[in-house]
């Protein structure tokens, strides 16, 4: 092997190393984004249920002429609505991130062709995403919407 071939091999090693690192980072980010998407979807569902419940309470309070309950539940509905809007924006950002990551990841897979390392990474990715989705769907993670109660907030004077 002459010096030129040796330099070429070293260059290929560096490229392969960079590719593998990039590949692993993409897989990690996709896995995290997949789990985040599932959690956001769960929060969205929860927030919509809470909003619906608040509408029901507002309706009942109006029927009873209870202005105090109307004001409290309208606020609660408003807070849930803002949270819902915020979650939707974050969901859109996460979806865009997944889309952005998927393209280079898919391209890397295509370039890798029959590369077994790349195949293993893809299998790992799917396993990681499955693992990440399960606890989120199972409601293991704390849900700020679920924690919110329709009672009134605290007051503190400094």
């Amino acid at each position: 092997m002459d010096a030129l071939e040796q330099r070429s091999d070293l260059g290929m090693d560096r490229i392969a190393h960079t590719f593998r690192s990039h590949n692993q980072e993409c897989a990690r980010q996709l896995s995290a984004a997949g789990a985040d998407l599932a959690r956001l979807q769960m929060l969205l569902d929860e927030a919509m249920q809470r909003m619906s419940a608040a509408f029901g309470r507002i309706s009942a309070a109006l029927d009873e002429g209870d202005s105090h309950a109307v004001v409290v539940n309208l606020q609660y509905q408003d807070i849930c609505g803002q949270l819902l809007a915020s979650l939707r924006r974050r969901l859109a950002c996460t979806e865009a991130l997944v889309g952005g990551l998927s393209v280079p990841f898919a391209a890397a897979m295509a370039v890798a062709g029959g590369n077994h390392h790349a195949d293993r990474s893809l299998a790992q990715l799917v396993a990681q995403m499955d693992a990440g989705l399960e606890p989120a769907h199972g409601g293991v993670e704390p849900c700020p919407v679920a924690q919110a109660q329709p009672g009134c907030g605290a007051v503190e004077l400094f």
Partner: protein
């Protein structure tokens, strides 16, 4: 005696409406602002006896509004209450350092809001 004027700053129109409904029912005049910058402009344009502000708003948040008002001689001692969904001790400490008079967590109890306003506004 003229009614006291309260500036209600919140980017949520329905929240401003509920604050306004509650305080007008208690005999106060209420001026509304859609964010911190609007609140600052309105506070500087006229005499306001108490400011009630949200924290998270576009253009200018509540803490920045408080700091800006406290830098204005006319608002050195005017009561400023935060009314926000934020309730962490860290945020409350920031509010206190910025010059807030008190902190109310949403959703507010209408009777409690009126009681607190009466207490701090005199």
């Amino acid at each position: 005696m003229a009614a006291m004027t309260i500036l209600a700053v919140d980017d949520s129109a329905s929240m401003r409406g509920m604050v306004s409904f509650t305080l007008k029912g208690a005999g106060y005049q209420v001026l509304e602002a859609v964010d911190g910058q609007d609140g600052l402009d309105k506070a500087r344009g006229r005499r306001v006896d108490l400011v009630l502000t949200d924290q998270n708003m576009p253009r200018m948040d509540g803490l920045t509004l408080i700091r800006s008002l406290r830098d204005t001689p006319e608002y050195k001692s005017v009561p400023i209450l935060m009314l926000t969904t934020e309730s962490s001790p860290e945020m409350k400490a920031k509010g206190k350092a910025a010059g807030a008079t008190g902190w109310l967590v949403k959703p507010f109890d209408p009777k409690q809001l009126v009681a607190v306003v009466r207490k701090v506004a005199g």
